[in-house]
């Protein structure tokens, strides 16, 4: 599961959806894998407006990556900024979370990640 995916996932529990603490989920005991992939600027520019930048900064820091700037770049500056493209490519596309847990900051529910596949199924008392 690419780190990009973490920016799309919140707690699955319905009562958590309203709380801002339920997103992003916090990685715990995360085992990361790095794949060397060709950089795809088109993808990054397309993804940029869909990212929750504040959440991405949190995830990036929690996974031990260098701190991202406070404000997201605009599409034009990103296209021209090779270092930024590379940094985002490395974090979002090349890095994968293979094992560990994703924890909701609101209800504390832990979603297990095994072999890169997170499990968001809930027990009956939470649906």
């Amino acid at each position: 599961m690419k780190v990009l995916t973490l920016n799309f996932l919140t707690c699955a529990v319905k009562t958590c959806k309203a709380s801002s603490d339920s997103f992003p989920l916090h990685p715990k005991d995360a085992e990361l894998v790095h794949d060397d992939l060709e950089i795809n600027p088109q993808l990054l520019v397309n993804v940029l407006p869909r990212l929750d930048w504040t959440a991405l900064r949190t995830t990036s820091t929690e996974l031990g990556f260098p701190e991202l700037p406070e404000q997201p770049p605009s599409a034009e500056t990103l296209e021209a900024d090779e270092a930024m493209l590379k940094e985002l490519h490395n974090l979002l596309v090349e890095t994968q979370m293979m094992e560990g847990k994703l924890v909701c900051g609101h209800c504390g529910h832990e979603y297990a990640v095994r072999e890169g596949i997170a499990n968001f199924l809930l027990p009956s008392h939470l649906v």
């Binding site: 990009l4 995916t5 919140t10 699955a12 088109q42 993808l43 596949i117």
Partner: protein, 450 residues
Amino acid sequence: MEYLIRFSQSHETFRLPEIQALAVVEGIELKVVSYSVESPFCVVRLPSEDTARRLIRRSILVQSIHEVWGSGTTLDALHATVVEQTAHLWERYMTCSFKFTIDSYQGSRSNEDKVRIINSFAYLGFAGPIKMRNPDEEFTLFEDWPFNSTPLGLADPKSYYLGRYLATGARDLPQKLDLKKRRYISTTSMDAELALVTANIALAAPGKLMYDPFVGTGSFPIACAQFGALAFGSDIDGRSIRGDEKKKTLRGNFEQYGLLSELGGVFTADLTNSPIRKMPLGTRGDGVRGRLFDGIICDPPYGVREGLRVLGVRDPEKSPWVIPKGIEMYKQPDFIPPKKPYGFLAMLDDILQFSAQTLVDNGRLSFWMPTANDEDQEIEVPTHPYLEVVAVCTQVFSKWSRRLITYRRIPDAEVDQEAMKARVENTTFLGRTADELNPFRRAYFTGFEA
């Protein structure tokens, strides 16, 4: 300029939606001049030869595209239009090597006949060498014969076209992704050809994000990835994603085709309790922010071969111990949450609502849905005020069909808010068992007898 598309004569109702979608993907202005589901020949107007090549380069249902040199209902009429429309072009092909072929649909001719007809084009005056292999230019006479023409002994086709060959579609791709050679499949894996057509119609392209909420073994994400999109997927049954946890896994399939870099992420989840981040409809209205996907494609379970289930307890009165047991056990790694049967129409409603919330403006939802062929039992195309139906394609089986329905996410400003207020969700109580909940399943197991 007019161009002739030579379609394959299969999946007829998918052909035009596919080519129209590819025009959107490539940003090409396409005008269909003539088309019929009964004929493989379609005449279109395009800005240039280059756009004609680009239009079909990833088409699954197009065999080839040709520059139109003439057409007519008789051979004489064809010759007249060739002389009238292309006399100024002949000089350009005077010295190159070339070959002349005849492509007869639903008809045949003797070799002598073929040679006689080809020789009737001698006035073109091509003086270059004739090469049957790799000629510089290939000219094809297309003949559209009436059905059953050979047994009926008909002498002439309905119509003729003369075309200069330009390019071939991507009809070799389904073989590359052939299910028979795929490492890991299940009973309901979508065949490679239709998965690729679906990905085309849903506008999968490099840099786009595509999502399949009923991913199974990954047929659709693989097709999307083949076209360069980043693919995401989820399934309520994690086992279908994990496979044998060695080589036969969804990830292993991506590896087999060298598409791992296009695999965004897969996870186990239920669409009714989805972890995907989304906003209530119409809250921001600035087009993209808060909406994640360029396309959503899926083949949801019909409840016949694959059960249709969501998280929850089917009958809490009959099995009151399930919930307390869950509270006690759910933190164990091997805990399997209980599931209950779910309504087919409610599920379709959920897919539409989810897509309206997560697709970017003009993003597409393409999903497969079964229906009975009998009009009385037909299940209507579901609707949603935020989604406009773009195409309905049908694959017919003996007593039932499945349809590929494609929608476009309308920008917020163009949505009819009155219709949204009037929208009634299909989640009213319909029953508890699979049969009660699913009209298609019920009809299927009673042999579609009313």
